[in-house]
Amino acid sequence: MVWTGVAGTRLHIAAARPVHHRSMLLKPAAHGACIRYAVPPWRRWMSKRDSSKSSFVSKVPQFPTWEPVAENQLPPRTKISPDLVDKLERLALVDFGNQEGVNCLEEAIRFADQLHVVNTDGVEPMDSVLENRALQLRNDEVKESDCVSELLQLAADRVEEYFVSPPGNIPLPKREERLAMLKHSAF
């Protein structure tokens, strides 16, 4: 993902595709690399509505304020071993497909490594944004039981009010078998 912020424009988030490594750790992209308006539509409307009020101060900085993080501030690069790829594929049921997929993951980790620069001394990790709220307890009453009649109608495959799924857990083929399978794949 690439965040760009240029004065007076909308924040634009690039689509979550494998990110090109050159776009990380560098200065923001040059003009023309993202969509921007001279004045965003909502600002135009606001100014039309109340051009006399100049008391509005946007919290969005007028100019980009971040600094790129130098390579030496970061921990060593994480290399993903084939064993780890295997484990991740089994745990999360993702398919890295080929080396480019693994590279993409390594770059994503590199991007996240920038978080190490932040000083978290004395700050507890946050599990939930609700951490300062009391956990709401519900009375033990039956209220909602029947959303599934709708769902069953949408199910691709069903037998007499049961959902149908493939048998058990289909075991992932071993790495050697997968490599053989991938030889013939489209990648």
Binding site: K87, R90, L91, L93, D127, S128, V129, L130, E131, N132, R133, A134, L135, Q136, L137, R138, N139, D140, E141, V142, K143, E144, S145, D146, C147, V148, L151, L152, D157, V159, E160, E161, Y162, F163, V164, S165, P166, P167, G168, N169
Partner: protein
């Protein structure tokens, strides 16, 4: 050597012992599920008790059921646990079709209750009439979701999924590996079941899946390090608990004895932790007393430990001690009374209606009634003899109208013909004790005169032969004489 519950001895290689720990999943008895408000019922039409949250539809969120929290706190109190004032929820990730979310909400880091203990007993000794009492440590109790049910259709190579059970509240009770064999494990499970049923937090019907047991089994020589653990999963019948565990202990010992090693298949799965904090649920707080509830929080909306302590019912252990004290029963009798469903109530009803002493009544209830029920594979609710009928029989016995042996005969007839009254049967069977002294004396005289050889032996010093004469008198009178009276008369006549 320990005896398995079936009575067969397990043959241990020298000094090896079994080490058994248990993870018991108890379905919380509540109207709705743990995090959603759909109903909870066994045997409902498939997929009829499923809320959007249970089907893991995007945009749905968990809302904790207060009744489930109370149930786990009460269970924790009954098991002498420390109740964690603050506990946390986590997600345990794994993929299976009967768990639509791809994770189960559980309490892995900080569960609701920890560090308790359970005292359990079983009847041991050679004659199985000695109460053996043991203790097992409770590691923790955690709240978690149940999964849906999958039915495997091997013909069409597919699995059918029913989500009625998905999201039902469970208490997982973890018992440390303090047990040595199947019998101990089964007794511990039985005691937990009784406690949960007494509390009302779980009905504990194993056949309906309300109580499921996973056993962790290993073997070792005492003093040496623990052996490799294997898991016996999802035991859902009380009878099978002991058998399955003993079988696994036996299997492991045989493997080790022949020089093999124990393999743990589930360990490989375990090493993937897949845990993360549940971000949709802040910490769960329970409060010591109403006074400790912070200002601004509605006390009726929170769980207060003192309130639950006040409504804790009498636990089975207390009941057993009371029976011993109140009625002067032996520990093994009170153990049986509490252990068998409904038997204690039956016993107390009989006591109310009869003048007979509790110690006599208990003999009839356990030996005659329970004995016959077990022989015929019947439950107490199916007993042909009601507590009133038994009380009547005991009253007739107490008043001296019939002898003990006659009463046993009447009992058998009552079993076969429950519609006939006790008085009727006694009359029909002609079992009333002969009250005419003269008649008894005459019969005794006759028997003594007819057996001069036996009389000589008795007079010579062998008193045991008197029993033979007594038997003959009883046969002649069809059991209608009081044995003590007959013995006295015969002793006089043969002195």
């Amino acid at each position: 050597m320990a005896a398995s519950s079936s009575g067969n001895r397990i043959l241990f290689p020298p000094q090896m012992v079994g080490v058994v720990g248990l993870e018991i999943h108890a379905q919380i008895h509540a109207a709705s599920k743990l995090f959603s408000s759909s109903g909870v019922r066994f045997s409902a039409p498939p997929n009829s008790l499923v809320a959007c949250f249970d089907a893991s539809l995007p945009g749905t969120l968990p809302v904790l059921n207060r009744r489930c929290v109370e149930a786990s706190v009460m269970t924790g109190l009954a098991l002498n646990c420390t109740i964690n004032r603050k506990s946390l929820f986590d997600r345990k990730h794994y993929f299976y079709a009967d768990m639509p979310a791809g994770y189960q909400i559980t309490q892995q880091r900080l569960p609701i209750a920890v560090n308790g203990s359970l005292t359990y007993s079983y009847l041991g000794g050679r004659k199985r009439n000695q109460v053996v009492t043991k203790n097992v440590r409770i590691k923790q109790i955690q709240l978690e979701q149940d999964s849906g049910k999958s039915l495997h259709d091997d013909h069409r190579n597919q699995t059918l999924i029913d989500l009625n059970r998905a999201g039902v509240g469970l208490m997982e009770v973890v018992m440390e590996a303090d047990m040595e064999c199947g019998e101990e494990a089964a007794a511990a499970v039985r005691e937990l079941q009784l406690i949960l049923q007494t509390l009302g937090t779980c009905y504990g019907n194993m056949a309906e899946g309300q109580l499921r047991v996973d056993a962790n089994v290993s073997v070792h020589r005492p003093g040496e390090p623990l052996g490799v653990r294997t898991e016996v999963k999802n035991i859902n019948s009380a009878r099978y608990v002991a058998k399955a565990i003993d079988y696994e202990i036996q299997r492991q010992m045989e493997v080790l004895d022949t020089g093999g090693t124990i393999l743990n298949e589930t360990r490989a799965f375990d090493s993937k932790s897949g845990f993360m904090p549940e971000p949709n649920l802040p910490p769960l707080f329970v409060y010591e007393s109403v006074a400790s509830v912070p200002a601004g929080v509605d006390p009726t909306q929170v769980v207060v430990i003192d309130r639950l302590k006040a409504i804790l019912p009498e636990l089975p252990g207390v009941k057993r001690a009371q029976l011993v004290e109140e009625y002067g029963l032996l520990p093994e009798h009170s153990f049986t009374l509490v252990n068998e469903v409904g038997l204690m109530d039956y016993f107390e009803r009989v006591i109310q209606k009869t003048k007979a002493e509790p110690r006599k009544v208990i003999g009839w209830v356990i030996k005659e009634l329970l004995g016959n029920l077990n022989q015929n594979g019947l439950r107490l609710t199916q007993s042909p003899i009601s507590s009133e009928a038994l009380a009547e029989l005991l009253n007739i016995l107490e008043s001296g109208h019939i002898s003990t042996s006659a009463a046993k005969v009447v009992f058998q007839e009552m079993w076969k013909l429950p519609e006939k009254s006790v008085k009727q049967l006694v009359a029909e069977l002609d079992l009333e004790l002969i009250s005419d002294q003269e008649q008894i004396l005459q019969i005794c005289r006759r028997v003594v005169d007819a057996h001069p050889e036996e009389v000589r032996v008795i007079r010579a010093g062998n008193k045991k032969v008197l029993n033979k004469l007594m038997g003959i008198v009883q046969k002649e009178t069809k059991g209608r004489t009081d044995p003590l009276q007959v013995r006295r008369i015969l002793e006089e006549m043969t002195s």
